[in-house]
């Protein structure tokens, strides 16, 4: 387990409640992403053929961060983009309100490319399936890999991540919260709470 810093003292309703378990702090998230960047470099000898594609919302930030680390460590800056999953989900009726649709940003030609999908939390695997469906409607990449900052288990589909920041055992009803300075305005952090 990483060090457990005090929860951010901001009055933001977005901050972890007292008693919430801090899973990763800013430094630990940085270490996880740097390690994943190294693993992507190891597994993909030709980085010019790699595109990091973020799943909204916070997967987009992870794709950007990984692309920056890969550029720093290898000298090759991979493409960083976005894939919308909202219109490919099979559970529109299970949401209280229609999920926000995002603009997909992919390289023009997917042929011969390795797509690395990035997301903050891997849970049921349904979001990943929707992302793969969405990608395949644009073209046929050579392969798709998957990177998640947190793998919390409870898969409902036969899907696994190629790169994991941290495996986090959870109860089904628990919630895992990921926040980034860039997207949420509070220091990078991952915490867990009940229901």
């Amino acid at each position: 387990m990483n060090s457990t810093p005090t929860p951010p003292a901001s009055p933001s309703p977005d901050a972890p409640a007292p008693g919430a378990t801090i899973v990763l702090d800013q430094a630990a998230i940085g270490r996880c992403l740097k390690r994943i960047a190294h693993e992507i470099i190891e597994r993909n000898p030709d980085l010019t053929k790699v595109a990091l594609i973020g799943i909204p919302s916070r997967g987009i930030e992870i794709a950007k961060r990984l692309a920056a680390y890969i550029a720093e460590f290898s000298g090759t800056a991979p493409f960083a983009g976005v894939v919308d999953v909202a219109m490919h989900r099979d559970d529109l009726h299970r949401h209280r309100l229609p999920p926000r649709v995002e603009r997909t940003i992919l390289p023009h030609d997917l042929e011969d490319l390795t797509i690395v999908l990035t997301d903050d939390v891997l849970f049921s695997g349904r979001t990943c399936r929707a992302a793969m469906d969405s990608i395949s409607s644009f073209g046929r990449p050579a392969r798709i890999q998957y990177a998640a900052l947190i793998d919390r288990g409870h898969r409902e589909l036969p899907i696994r991540a190629d790169y994991v920041g941290k495996n986090l055992p959870t109860a089904h009803g628990q919630r895992v919260h990921v926040r980034f300075e860039a997207t949420d305005g509070i220091p990078d952090s991952v915490w867990m709470s009940l229901a």
Binding site: P13, D14, S57, R58, D84, A86, M87, H88, R89, D90, D91, L92, H93, R94, H95, R96, L97, P98, P99, R100, V101, E102, R103, T104, D120, V121, F123, S124, R126, D133, S134, S136, S137, F138, G139, R152, E156, H172, G173, R175, V176, H177, V178, T183, D184, G185, A195
Partner: protein
Amino acid sequence: MSAASPIQHQKSAPSVPAATWTHKDLVGLQDLTAEEITLVLDTAAAFKTVGTRDVKKVPALRGQTLVNFFVESSTRTRVSFELAAHRLSADVINVSASSSSLTKGETLKDTAKVFEANHADIIVLRHSSAGASQFLAERLDASIINAGDGAHEHPTQALLDTFTIREKLGRVSGLHVAIVGDILFSRVARSNIHALLKLGAKVTLVGPSTLVPRVFEQMGVTVTHDLDAVLPTADVVNLLRIQHERQRKEYFPSLGEYTALFGLTKQRAEHLQPGALIMHPGPVNRGVEIDSDLADSHRSVILEQVTNGLAVRMAVLYLCAGVRTSVP
């Protein structure tokens, strides 16, 4: 942070509070907020990319049934809704007034209830009476999408016009939009006025005083009968069709006189700013509202409006269906 469905981990949108869509129906733009209109336009921008894919179809509305119920005739709007529904994987049936039991005296409500009894999820209604969509929306569980009701509203047309303006000029706020022609009978004009004013544009209505009465000033727009005075400051000129089928002869003496005073001729177009857009909801009466060559010129975005209409209708169907089918 109330718990959504159990399969969801916390995946809220970024901290900038995005507007949420809470409407089962789309009856008009009068009651929408600027944030809601912007949400539709943003959603449409995402759906527009579906048209550029190898596979131009997404599964969002798989298993849902849409009835295109056009009591008043239409080609482009009906085809656009039909294609939008196909691209969202919904099943579509088309019903026109002449092929429905309305001709046997069945009421609008009863006919619509028959669709619902056949498990229709979305009914797209075009009707010659203002308020027909509102009437059904209040009485049916299905989503009702207004595809034009009398001279009241045509919300998806105004949304696609606004989308086109925003896409081409980068913004709507602060722009000067001239809407020219038959305003009195135009649901397109009314919906456009609502959308443009909410998003912060300045709107000037131009046309003969019989078709553009001063009473429109109460909506917060400027009314004028002098097109030449408006063109030099307009960022957008939206030319509405002269609706032969609705007009009686007394509104203006002749089509020739209308063109002489309010048609966008080549000579008049020279007074436009270099980047100004020429729009028309179609079908175009070439040589009446607009010079034929101008309609095909680089300034005209008439066909892009059609393309954008598809994206906007996909967005509207997605958002309304998402609310209707949601868990309480």
